[in-house]
């Protein structure tokens, strides 16, 4: 059995690489984008709020799987052609940005108004207030919800199989179908568990660090 594991492990690890790559790039792009969109969502400019709400509704109201298919097979119809990997990334970033934007919006709205006013009478600019006072507080408020999405993203990344990308789950599936054994999928499960465990630990550390103040 050890021999068999050694034999399929390279394929699984290369799938893991794809999974991680989707995971990291989605996070790196969609967390800042989500924060920026959230600023739009809490703004007083109604048309912008409306557009962002429609975007949120589309992204959160349809399955990510469907969005992946649309980006890869649908967009070429109107002349936008993505490579498989780029299509996957594009769909993931669009989708996760919507969720993050909603999380950050909630965070922004739970910072008391008095904090803005107190900054204002001290004559801090809007940018200074956001940077020095609001963002640190929002960050702390949203951390648990962001953590949830991060863990979800590890597993959601398996959806890229639908446009033919070789991620971890697909690597396991291929081996299972070929060798008629469930063992590869057990390994896949173990690798996912390890990945989410690492995320959990990292998030715990960040949460602990941000608990020096309340």
């Amino acid at each position: 059995m050890i021999q068999y594991i050694e034999q399929i492990l390279p394929a699984l690890l290369s799938g893991t690489k794809m999974t991680l790559s989707i995971f990291f790039w989605t996070l790196i792009c969609s967390i800042p984008l989500g924060a920026i969109l959230a600023l739009g969502l809490v703004s007083n400019f109604k048309p912008l709020v409306w557009v962002l709400n429609v975007y949120d509704w589309l992204m959160r109201g349809t399955p990510l799987l469907l969005q992946l298919i649309f980006v890869f097979y649908g967009l070429p119809v109107i002349g936008i052609i993505f490579e498989r990997y780029d299509a996957a990334l594009f769909a993931f970033i669009l989708n996760y940005t919507a969720y993050f934007a909603e999380i950050f919006r909630g965070g922004f709205q739970s910072v008391p108004r008095g904090q803005f006013e107190s900054a204002r009478v001290l004559r801090l600019s809007y940018g200074q207030t956001i940077r020095k006072i609001i963002i640190p507080q929002v960050f702390k408020i949203v951390l648990p919800s962001i953590g949830n999405e991060v863990i979800n993203l590890v597993k959601d990344s398996s959806l890229v199989y639908v446009i033919g990308l070789g991620d971890l789950l697909r690597a396991g599936n291929v081996a299972t179908a070929r060798d008629v054994t469930l063992l590869p999928l057990v390994l896949v499960g173990i690798i996912y568990l390890a990945l989410t465990a690492i995320c959990t630990v990292v998030l715990k550390v960040i949460e602990k660090r941000s608990s020096v103040w309340r």
């Binding site: 904090q115 204002r120 009478v121 001290l122 801090l124 020095k132």
Partner: protein, 211 residues
């Protein structure tokens, strides 16, 4: 000297402050008193620029200014809020030095030096590195006073400074306000506490509910 002329403030069609004029002399403590809902806090919010007035003008030493749009000149108004509104993510020192360093671009060393001086004066030495949640209500209020003073305002305003404090601390705040007067700070105190107002104020301005 702060002069307010013909200030009117409405919320929708409801008039909260009707054609109010008042003068606060230098180095004077003015208490604004009146029943709940009479518009005391709204008046203070107009003076501090947190509410736009519908009409009226503000003058500092004869020069007109707009509290809601302070521009680049010196800070005229400093505020201590009823619930203090310290920044929970910053230490005591961080709360105090943030605005002087970022807004007035004063050198950090100098700002810290001045802050320590002020903290000592209000009996807060040794608290520099604590976060607001580690302070008592009275201490938070004093930090809020130091934070406002660090911007060197011409006038310091308090919104209901005694409402969240127990009676012993009430006298302590009165003492702080009177001490600041000795250092020639002009102050406006909004309060519903008549005894407190009589204790500290040189002049008492009553605001009544508009029917």
């Amino acid at each position: 000297m702060l002069e307010i002329k013909n200030l009117t403030k409405k919320f929708g069609s409801k008039i909260v402050i009707n054609n109010l004029s008042m003068t606060v002399k230098d180095n004077e403590i003015m208490a604004i008193v009146g029943p709940s809902g009479a518009g005391k806090t709204t008046l203070l919010r107009c003076i501090t620029g947190l509410e736009r007035v519908n009409s009226g003008a503000f003058y500092w030493d004869g020069k007109q200014f707009d509290p809601a749009n302070p521009g680049k000149e010196d800070t005229i108004i400093g505020v201590v809020f009823q619930d203090y509104q310290l920044f929970p993510n910053l230490t005591v020192m961080g709360n105090i030095t943030l605005a002087p360093t970022m807004v007035k671009k004063e050198p950090k060393q100098q700002v810290i030096q001045d802050a320590k001086e002020l903290l000592k004066r209000l009996g807060l030495q040794g608290k520099e590195d604590l976060y607001p949640y580690q302070l008592s209500g009275g201490q938070k209020q004093r930090v809020a006073i130091v934070r406002a003073l660090a911007m060197n305002p011409k006038i310091l305003c308090y919104d209901e400074p005694t409402s969240a404090l127990d009676p012993a601390l009430r006298d302590e705040v009165a003492q702080i306000i009177l001490d600041l007067k000795k250092q020639e700070m002009t102050q406006i105190v909004v309060t519903h506490d008549m005894d407190f107002a009589k204790n500290v104020a040189d002049e008492i301005k009553r605001v009544e509910q508009i029917q």
